[in-house]
Structure formats: structure tokens, C-alpha cells
Subunit: 242 residues, 2 copies
């Protein structure tokens, strides 16, 4: 099976959570964001899907994953589908529900992270909501970040397998996503995150473990993994980082 991933070119965004799973799972896939528009890639590839009036099951927003005749959307849904196929999910049904539940909690966290710089509307520029962004970021860093970090660190601590992973005794797709969130937060809020090193040691260790995996390292070195920038979910505005 060769998968096709559709996402906006030029940013990591939600597409990156899918890419990390495809890379760690050594999947064969086409990333349309990296293909030239002349070869059917670029933004036009996903816009053709968004504009397709014949699609019986239209997606709302990218990322999209094509797997044979299936066209899937919603990051957590895509990862739930890919997990067992790429050896990145537990074998038992209860373990799979638990992994998905954690992924959905990461999705909630991600919305709050995005809204630190866009608290009023995605359709407005940051500069048009900067005052609100400062207020929301202060609340986020003071209350929500510690709540989510505390929770996810506890999940690793409570995992009976004691291997430093979130679920069971090996890496699953939710570890990849969690490490990506940590990487993004280090970019967006370096000072605030630096101060959490001692309080959430398992979470920080998870980040390092994931980005030390041979396939993830070679993906990062390949040039295919874009750098974080101020057009994605995680943005670096020093005025928002206490």
C-alpha cells in the first residue's frame, strides 16, 4: 500500500503528526506538499479535494490521507487507522482506545496552543489580535500548560511497563505526536518550557527518545522535515513567552 498525504505546503502543521507516523513506520507514501504543482502536488492537490463537488464523503480540512479507495481526514482518525498497519499501536482493543483517547487529548492541547496567537479568529492576522494573544498566552502558560504537562507526565509515570513510553512497553503513534508537541512548544515558548524541565522529566525524556530514533533522525536530516516557522500551529513571538 502506497499512502498519499495531502497537506498545506510550507508548514509542519497537523500534517507533521501524520508524517512522523509514516516515517517511523517506514511506510511508502507520497507527500503532495513536497511535489511540484506541475506534477500534481502543492496546495492545488488538496484544494482539488476540497473543491470536488462529486465527493460523497467530503473532508472538512487537511490533513487528508488516501489509502486505496479510502480518503480519511482528522489527524487523530488518520493515526488511529495507520497505527495498527504501521506497528505503532497496541494489539488489544482496550489499548487502542486508550491510545486514541490520549491522541484526542493532544488534539485538545493543540487547539489551545494555536489559540495563544489566534485567540479571536484564525482568519485575522496575529497583529490584529496581539493584545488578546498576550492575555491568552499568559493564562495558557500559567494554567493550561502545567495542567496538560502534569497530565501527560503522569501518564508515562503510571504506565506499568516503565519503559518511558505513554502506552505499553514500546513506542506508539501517540509518543510521536507528544514529542512533536514538545518540539513545537520549545520553539514557541523556549523560556517557559525550559523552566518545566525539572517538573516533567518523563515528558522531556520522551521528546529526546523520539527524536533519537534512527528513522526520525534520518527523516529530520533528509530536508523533508520543514523547520518550524511563524505560519504554523507553533509560532515564536517572544512577547508571548514570559
Amino acid at each position: 500500500m502506497v499512502y498519499t498525504l495531502y497537506y498545506w505546503p510550507g508548514i509542519q502543521g497537523r500534517g507533521e503528526f501524520v508524517r512522523l507516523a509514516l516515517e517511523e513506520g517506514a511506510a511508502a507514501y507520497v507527500d503532495t506538499a513536497l511535489q511540484p504543482a506541475g506534477e500534481g502536488g502543492g496546495a492545488a492537490a488538496l484544494e482539488a479535494i476540497l473543491d470536488d463537488t462529486e465527493l460523497l464523503r467530503p473532508p472538512f480540512a487537511p490533513p487528508f490521507l488516501k489509502a486505496g479507495r479510502l480518503l480519511l481526514s482528522q489527524t487523530a482518525n488518520i493515526l488511529m487507522f495507520l497505527g495498527p498497519r504501521l506497528g505503532l499501536a497496541p494489539r488489544d482493543a482496550a489499548g487502542r482506545l486508550w491510545t486514541h483517547q490520549l491522541q484526542l487529548t493532544i488534539a485538545d492541547f493543540l487547539v489551545e496552543i494555536h489559540d495563544t496567537h489566534h485567540p479571536i479568529a484564525s482568519g485575522l492576522y496575529y497583529e490584529e489580535q496581539q493584545a488578546e494573544a498576550k492575555r491568552r498566552s499568559a493564562e495558557f502558560l500559567g494554567t493550561r500548560l502545567p495542567k496538560f504537562f502534569g497530565y501527560f507526565d503522569r501518564v508515562i509515570e503510571r504506565n506499568r511497563a516503565r519503559g518511558g513510553w505513554m502506552v505499553g512497553n514500546g513506542l506508539t503513534y501517540v509518543d510521536l505526536s507528544m514529542a512533536q508537541v514538545m518540539a513545537g512548544l520549545k520553539f514557541a515558548f523556549p523560556h517557559a518550557v525550559e523552566r518545566t524541565l525539572d517538573s516533567y522529566p518523563r515528558l522531556h525524556a520522551l521528546h529526546d527518545k523520539v527524536f533519537a530514533r534512527p528513522r526520525i533522525r534520518s527523516y529530520a536530516k533528509s530536508g523533508r522535515r520543514l523547520a518550524f516557522n511563524n505560519r504554523g500551529i507553533f509560532r515564536s513571538y517572544p512577547e508571548l513567552d514570559r
Copy 2:
């Protein structure tokens, strides 16, 4: 199987999406929010789970569903689990992924609805973020509401079964959730939603179809379904409703 639902007493909130599925599916369940604290119910029931330091798979936030030894969280995850068990999901794997994908898009919509009155922080009072709420609500009603309504109306239109449901030729749990969102929006933004009647006829018809179902009607009449109020996701602040 007798299910147990844990949610905050006094509000519909996210718990209501699970209740509607349990009711339409004629499931046997205990709703701890409706049980007296002296009988193990009330807020204490769910706080005991949140505070349980022995739980190997701790949930982040309610609703929680106990099903035998399983303790599930995240509304969309709970509904994905219940759907097939209650006859509220398609039989095929592709149809189940599609239903879940729609539920996750409803979850995204719900966060945006909540944030119209709490754009800065859930932990602050509405009155402390009213100016920002007015700005966010105007953007929401002008841009996001039509985008989501247009999408979901199109989903019903594109469904080849042509029965007015979102997936296949019968009601699924996502129809129940969609109708609940419509009901909540009618409470929160009566004027803005009234003006959408002609533009999204399938979505409005879906709301009416769901709340005319015998089991949903008898649930609504039972007194167990709480009224909307200004402590939940959907809140009525006339100054936010253009």
C-alpha cells in the same frame, strides 16, 4: 451491560452527547450526575476518578464512561465505542471511520462555540473577557458558523442514501450530536441561527427529526434532560448574538 456515565452535575455539557446515544440506544445506564452525593453520585463521583492516584490509565477530563473494566474518556472516543454496541453506527469499517471523522469535526466546532464566550481562558469569568468575547463571537458568526453549517449541510446532501441522515440510510450517533449542537446554538444565538434556516435546510431538518424520535422525546420529557443554562458550552448572552 450496565454503563455508568460520569459528568458534572447541573449542565448538559459534553456529557449530553453521550446521554443522547445511551437514550436512543435504549442502554441501561447509571448517570452519576443525577444521583445524590450520599449514594455515590454528584461531582464527588467524578472527582474521585480524577483524584485516583492508583489509576493506570487516568482520564484528563469528563465525560467518563465505565463499561465493565473499561474506563473511557473523550466524547468522540466514547461514542465510537458505544456506536456499534447500541446500533448507532454503520456496519462497515470505512463507514465507522467516516462517522468518527464527522464526530471529530463536531468536536472542533464545539471548541469554537465554547470559545465565543471564553476566548481568553476557561478559568476566568465571562465578565472578565466580555470585550474579547464580543469580538470573537462576531468573527464566529460571520465566518466560522457558515463554514461549519455549509459543510455539515453538504454532508447530508451528498449522502447517497438521501434519507436526510449524515451517514447511510439510518440514524447514527453523529446525527444525535449534530442535532444537539443545533439545539445548543438555537439557545446561544437565536437570532443568528434563525437567519440560517433557508441556507442550511437539511441541517435544520435533521435537528427536528432527531428531537422527534420517540426515545429522545421521552428522554426530554422525563426531566432527566437538563435545560441549557449559562454554565455550559452553549450560553445565551444577547450581546454576543448579532
